[in-house]
């Protein structure tokens, strides 16, 4: 059994590598000292400073708004795309659609950001819209980036469930619309919720695509964090990171529960 013990030790080591820095970050956010290397007592002073940092708060509110819009758009479009890939095997251009969906998943953010900026510039020159770049163009870019993730999650969920239930509903006299609303949509629901949450966090986290597609007056939270980090991290950022971590852990826990419920429902 030495081999399995080696694997377990390696896994624990790997998880320590992933979580060690996060633990350090959370611990230092409660440190009264501004130095990471000395502990002078428990304090919430960085959280108070965070609450009074107008730049960070304004940027966070803007980012939350963009993320909500982008995640909703990505969920509608990605849900449709995932449904099409899982349930429409004869769809014309299915492979092309899968390819276009995969592109934002794997390609570097830099290429997504640059190409979308060129689109917005070209459209403004030819059609006059958008009139300058800002929160709206960032939301479109984020929806594009995130819809692929939603499609993957929804497709996997529908493929795992099979079409037996829809078939049964139609045999019992339900029309295709009724079968979709009463069977497929509830089947997709947990994946749509996880997809929305995933899209929301991806949007909140992005700095590169936003830097390309934003304009003056629309500085998102990651853009502010990034320009601060280039000068050197501040303790306030540790407090901010801890708040974001707590929110992300909550979202992940929600997805975990939804996933278990989905598994139980699928049998």
């Amino acid at each position: 059994m030495t081999r399995s013990r080696f694997l377990t030790a390696w896994l624990l080591g790997g998880l320590l590598f992933l979580y060690g820095p996060i633990a350090v970050l959370v611990a230092t956010s409660f440190n009264a000292s501004s130095l990471m290397t000395e502990w002078t007592g428990f304090s919430l002073r960085w959280y108070r400073a965070l609450l009074h940092d107008r730049t960070l708060i304004d940027a966070a509110l803007l980012s939350l708004r963009i993320a909500a819009v982008a995640a909703t758009g990505a969920t509608v479009l990605g849900g449709l795309a995932g449904f099409a890939l899982a349930r429409m095997p004869n769809l014309a251009g299915r492979r092309t659609m899968a390819g276009l969906l995969a592109a934002p998943l794997v390609l570097p953010d830099l290429l997504i950001g640059l190409s979308l900026l060129l689109l917005f510039v070209a459209s403004e020159m030819l059609l006059g819209v958008p009139n300058g770049r800002g929160a709206g163009t960032v939301a479109i870019a984020h929806a594009t980036m995130c819809l692929s993730y939603v499609a993957v999650v929804v497709e996997a969920r529908l493929a795992a469930g099979g079409t037996v239930l829809e078939m049964a509903a139609m045999d019992l006299g339900a029309g295709p619309v009724m079968a979709f609303l009463r069977i497929t949509l509830p089947l997709m629901a947990p994946a749509l919720v996880s997809g929305w949450l995933l899209a929301f966090t991806l949007s909140l986290d992005d700095v590169v695509v936003a830097s390309f597609t934003s304009g003056p007056g629309a500085t998102t939270l990651p853009m502010v964090v990034y320009s601060t980090l280039r000068l050197g991290p501040t303790p306030v950022l540790n407090a901010l990171a801890t708040v974001v971590l707590a929110l992300a852990a909550g979202a992940a826990a929600a997805i975990w529960v939804l996933g278990r419920r989905g598994e139980a429902a699928a049998g």
Binding site: A84, L107, D109, L111, L114, S211, P222, P233, N238, A249
Partner: protein
Amino acid sequence: MRRALAVLPVWAWLVGFVALPAVLIAVMAVSISADSVPPFRLGLSFEALAAVFSDPYYRDGFLFSLRVAALSAAACLVLGYPMALAIARSAPRHRRLLLLLVILPFWTGFLLRITAWIGILRDEGLLNAVLGALGLPAIRLLHTDAAMLIGMVYGYLPFMILPIEARLSAADRTLEQAAADLGASPARVFLSVTLPLSLPGVWAGLALVFVPVAGEYVIPDLLGGPGSLTIGRVIYEEFFQNNDWPQAAALALVLLLGLALPASLVRRR
């Protein structure tokens, strides 16, 4: 037919916001840089594209990114494969939790986790404090290639673990059992049964790390040194600092075409 109509918005969005922008990169790559807003005029010039291959600055950027991406993918494989195997072999009730633990960091804000590494690696940071307490000399890590590589592995490790774990946990365990019963040593079982069964996951994992790392901008900029000039940084600089859109687009086009092949490995099942 009505169902096909329902997919129309998806097509419209994908063509408008994924395919068309990619074409515009090519259009910009042959445009001409100009002192206007936006800083280009349409044309058919291959000057920027030729510079990608003739200018050693750009060539070095590509070669450096290629090395960094290959090293990062290899390091993620070495670190991640045993982790994937351990998760795939764990009891089913632990497996879901372990997978969640691997995915969770991906959710927690990439930029903010880089903050932690800056605090740990910088000269007066945690690592050097620990080394000092142990009586060891301090080392300079932040703003070096080593710190950049640590950041890449840290950021992309989950992308390596997940596809390999999926393959390993779907593989038929009785094949390993059979090989062992027929007298194969544990090493032989691994090399001739376990590893080949997981290879599609390994390829997907390598592509999922290599492709985004090859165009990474944030990690080299924050953790790397002034000399860690990845192609991502070069493109960013051409675009935002030099305001040379055609040159940035030409570099991006070559990067896009270069990554198309490894990127296509991801979708293969």
